[in-house]
Symmetry: C2
Subunit: 325 residues, 2 copies
């Protein structure tokens, strides 16, 4: 992973040079705050690795990498308002620190700056194509967030709908990062397509793993309370699949546990997990993850680029997908 760390350093170095010091500072301070919160910087690294497949002048894709990271952070700022989240990465969320109105408005100006950075790419890049590709990604992310909000008010979410939601909300930006990096590097349409599909599959696999770990991971490694999704009645692969495969009585029982407001939290988690286990959901979750993972790797395989360069992308993806298993 040493080489990947170098790509990450290239990016964080670029990031540290971007200061938002315009006025009014009430608008720009939250941007500096959120952009410097840290995080794994996966999306910008994907941009750089994808560009690198086709062209060695990786720094040419730095503005795109920055645009993608800024879009990711913009979406976190607005999502945290919608989800009323007070903490992110152990720090107060933007709206918690600066107020909801500034959270909305700083997020808005961040979205404008996303396009500013996309526009900084060199003349060798097809800007209309780049922006068209990005717009499609951004629209998907918003659609995914709306679907996720819709899911809060219903039990009738099919597995297909759930996978569609995570494809939009989570996988689209990972997929888009690879697509944009490839466009920046001068890839063929076919290779752009394969990289986007690779990213989409890996994104879905990653979310399925995340769903599994939230219920079955070791607390220390997961870094948050195990069973948190169950307590919040969040739609996940586990509960969606369980409601799909359960017979009518078990389905009724699961729903009554999920909606029982008087149940002790520990009991709610253990009762839910016992139904998941009875239905063999953990195995199904791992199987599904593996299907997406292998499908993704086939798309990467099909990309016309040096194997040694592709192995960096494969290594990063497998590293993200093999936590705790």
């Amino acid at each position: 992973m040493e080489e990947i760390n170098q790509f990450r350093k290239l990016f964080t170095n670029y990031l540290s040079q971007q200061a938002f010091d315009r006025r009014p500072h009430e608008l720009y301070e939250p941007i500096n705050y959120v952009m410097n919160m840290g995080g794994k910087r996966i999306r910008p690294v994907l941009v750089l690795l994808s560009h690198h497949l086709f062209d060695d002048q990786v720094d040419r894709s730095l503005p795109i990498a920055y645009a993608v990271e800024m879009f990711h952070n913009f979406s976190l700022v607005h999502d945290d308002i919608m989800d009323e989240a007070a903490v992110r990465r152990t720090k107060p969320t933007v709206h918690h620190k600066y107020g909801v109105n500034t959270g909305i408005l700083s997020g808005d100006v961040m979205l404008v700056y996303v396009y500013h950075y996309l526009g900084l790419t060199g003349q060798e890049v097809d800007l209309p194509m780049l922006i068209k590709t990005f717009n499609e990604v951004a629209i998907k992310v918003c659609e995914g967030q709306q679907m996720d909000m819709n899911f809060e008010n219903t039990d009738a979410v099919t597995l297909q709908e759930y996978v569609k939601m995570i494809e939009l909300k989570t996988a689209a930006l990972l997929s888009g990062s690879l697509g944009l990096g490839a466009i920046s590097g001068g890839a063929s349409q076919k290779d752009v397509h394969h990289l986007q599909e690779f990213g989409k599959c890996m994104g879905i696999a990653f979310q399925l793993q995340d769903d599994y770990l939230d219920a079955y991971g070791e607390q220390q490694k997961v870094g948050k309370r195990v069973g948190g999704d169950i307590l919040q009645n969040k739609k996940t692969f586990l509960v969606t699949k369980a409601l799909e495969v359960a017979d009518a009585p078990l389905r009724t029982k699961l729903l009554s546990i999920l909606h029982d407001k008087d149940l002790h939290p520990d009991r709610k988690i253990s009762d839910t997990l016992s139904i998941f286990n009875r239905l063999d959901i953990p195995r199904l979750a791992k199987e599904h993850k593996k299907i997406y993972q292998e499908q993704g790797l086939q798309h990467l395989e099909a990309v016309d680029a040096p194997a040694v360069k592709k192995s960096l992308l494969e290594g990063l993806a497998l590293n993200l997908l093999e936590r705790e298993y």
Copy 2:
């Protein structure tokens, strides 16, 4: 104004063909709602009129006109959340009708669609320049909104700061509409500049008129309660100028009226107006408006385009600026 109505019809016809029927409909229904709320469509008409100065194929600028109108509506959706406004154009605001979260998210996707529509312009247009120009406008509008929010918590706003705020919040998009239309029509940099300055001056003059009418207009013609700004302690040209020119005792008196929560509303308005009158603020407001108006017309004069075409823009501007006077 018959010719201007034809431009407006050209736009509303294009607008009626844009349907947001993607899913989830919870995300897109608010866009259809707000885009079809009506309104004078001044900004898109400015795009078309500005394009028309340099090129007769006005319909080429329709996607830009639509992008500008969508940005305007995006900013209204988010501003109404920040201002907790329940009603706009006699109808419920988006967040009031669909909830705050959908208001935020539908606004976000509208901003993405702004760039989608900008990207629909023909290949004869310099897209990077178009997007760069638009980004600068969008950033100004956000900065103006933040300044306006900052002003709520202070009395120490100078006239210069107030004019800067309205230049960003109100005038920048009018100026930008003219600039984008001119770029679309193939204008020279010099003419783009003069049209933007024309728009900026007219936008400031328009806001100064708005401030005046809110306090001195006839209720029937203004369409809202006369003195509303005074009751809301809104920063306007009138109060900012009054605090600037008043001597210390009168300044103290004005501030005490503005902050007196027990004062009867009618009394608050009449006491404030009486201080404005004593300081000759109405005359100063008209004078300032006139200065910006004349400065704007000089910039229009300097644009290298047929006088008969420029007269349409001049007619629209003077029509907007001569209400109630």
